[in-house]
């Protein structure tokens, strides 16, 4: 079979897989962002025990392999009565993992905002929380877009690991198709191209967003 024939034959299942991949990525990045925000704020503004907890959580997650985490959530929980579907286990593992990385990007962005901004917010009578919400985060979130784009791209590609626990995402579908048509090279090449196109589309979207919310006249590295 030529490459184009392989594309035609595998189009259906691979598009089904792509749908799951995107679903998995979007859910995980959003849950991860929520978790990352909590961890980052806890680490920067929290009291000592909270800071300590957030730091420990981030280090444990970043210091252990993603695959191990996926296995723990899928194979490790049923004995304790928590039985997750492959998709649920994957979303949970990716969210937790990505949350730890996103927390570090967010922390860096928050700490890069000059301390005078919070001082000015407090001096006009804002509470610390108002300062965080109205002054610090709007600036920090703008700064976090470039590293966050990287995290999104990593996550999108790492979701291919979910095939191991039986999630029917793009990689799993490609394996399934290839095991039938024996066109390993062409099938996986097609899968790789799909990942590439999706990555390019999303990174273009995020760089559009970055330009869109850019503060006029403001350079980050001044």
């Amino acid at each position: 079979m030529t490459f184009w024939q392989v594309v035609q034959h595998s189009w259906g299942p691979l598009m089904d897989g792509l749908q799951v991949t995107i679903q998995l990525t979007l859910l995980s990045i959003v849950f991860g962002l929520a978790l990352g925000l909590i961890l980052a704020l806890g680490k920067v503004y929290g009291l000592k025990p909270i800071r300590w907890f957030c730091t420990a959580f981030i280090e444990i997650i970043r210091g252990t392999p993603l695959l191990v985490q996926i296995f723990i959530f899928y194979f490790g929980l049923p004995p304790y009565g928590i039985r997750l579907s492959p998709l649920e286990a994957a979303v949970l593992a990716f969210s937790v993992n990505s949350g730890a990385y996103q927390a570090e990007y967010l922390r860096g962005a928050i700490q890069s905002i000059p301390s005078g901004q919070m001082q000015a917010a407090l001096s006009m009578g804002m509470t610390r929380w108002q300062g965080i919400i109205s002054i610090i985060m709007p600036q920090a979130l703008r700064r976090v877009i470039p590293p966050w784009t990287n995290e999104f791209i990593y996550l999108l590609k790492y979701t291919s690991l979910a095939y191991i626990i039986g999630t029917q995402e793009l990689m799993a579908q490609a394996r399934f198709v290839a095991s039938r048509n024996y066109e390993y090279f062409h099938t996986y090449l097609f899968a790789a191209l799909i990942y590439l196109v999706v990555v390019l589309v999303f990174s273009e979207m995020f760089s559009w967003l970055e330009r869109r919310v850019k503060i006029p006249g403001f350079e980050y590295h001044k």
Binding site: L122, M126, Q139, R142, G217
Partner: protein
């Protein structure tokens, strides 16, 4: 009513240390309504620390501070009292993600709970007051240093403060931009705003200050009306410092 008639700010025996560094060693001072006091002194002498203690951005170790009848140092709602004390920073500290108008109105909407439209109108008035009505939609990065500092002053004014603290408001500015900021500050002083200003602009001090306070080593060495302090200081050290200042900045400018 005020305990002492007309007193806006009263500080009693304020102390502050950072580790072994005893920065404030018992500072007491009083500012009455409508007065402008200028704080001078060598760097590292506690002037800025004194200002940030007044609005509790730096909590003092001991001593008392009253704003009108409220003891700031005993208050559990410091942020409510901070609304009444404007603060103008050396490096402007404008909110970078907001326009000039946004900078001035955000305190009104977030802190005072004013509705958006009213807040924008009031913010616009304050910007006009500092001569920047035409820059309302500019972002801080699009403004000159002098314009930024004037926006910062408008931001402080918008909260209708009882007192404005200025921490070296012109020392981060190019020389040709200093005048526009001082002009605004003079106007405020003449309108009866109560101000405490850390500044070495002697011409400004001479023309608007009710009193000049010379601080060194964490204490007030001498204070008095500018004419007396500049021409006839009682303490030798004050004279030394002043002569060093005028040799640096040249003769003070005319009124």
């Amino acid at each position: 009513m005020n305990k002492e008639k007309g007193s806006v700010l009263r500080i009693e025996d304020l102390h502050k240390s950072f580790g072994d560094n005893h920065v404030l060693r018992g500072v007491s001072l009083e500012i009455k309504r409508g007065e402008t006091k200028i704080l001078i002194g060598p760097s590292g002498t506690g002037k800025s620390t004194l200002l940030t203690c007044i609005n509790m951005l730096t909590p003092p170790d001991s001593g008392k501070i009253w704003l009108l009848n409220d003891e700031i140092t005993a208050s559990r709602k410091v942020n409510l009292l901070r609304q009444k004390i404007g603060f103008v920073f050396q490096d402007f500290s404008l909110f970078n993600h907001l326009t000039a108008l946004g900078n001035v109105s955000i305190g009104l909407t977030k802190v005072k709970g004013m509705d958006r439209k009213k807040a924008r109108e009031k913010a616009m008035e304050e910007l006009k007051q500092v001569g920047l009505g035409d820059k309302a939609s500019s972002y801080p990065a699009q403004l000159s240093g002098g314009q930024k500092q004037r926006v910062a002053i408008a931001r402080a004014l918008a909260m209708d403060p009882q007192l404005i603290l200025f921490d070296e408001p012109t020392s981060a500015l190019d020389p040709e931009l200093i005048g526009e900021v001082l002009t605004v500050m003079k106007k405020l002083a003449n309108q009866g705003m109560t101000m405490l200003v850390v500044s070495h602009e002697m011409g400004f001090a001479r023309s608007v200050a009710d009193e000049v306070i010379f601080m060194e080593g964490g204490i007030i060495v001498e204070q008095g009306p500018p004419a007396q302090l500049f021409s006839n200081p009682r303490v030798e050290r004050t004279g030394e410092f002043l002569s060093r200042l005028s040799s640096l900045f040249g003769e003070e400018d005319e009124k």
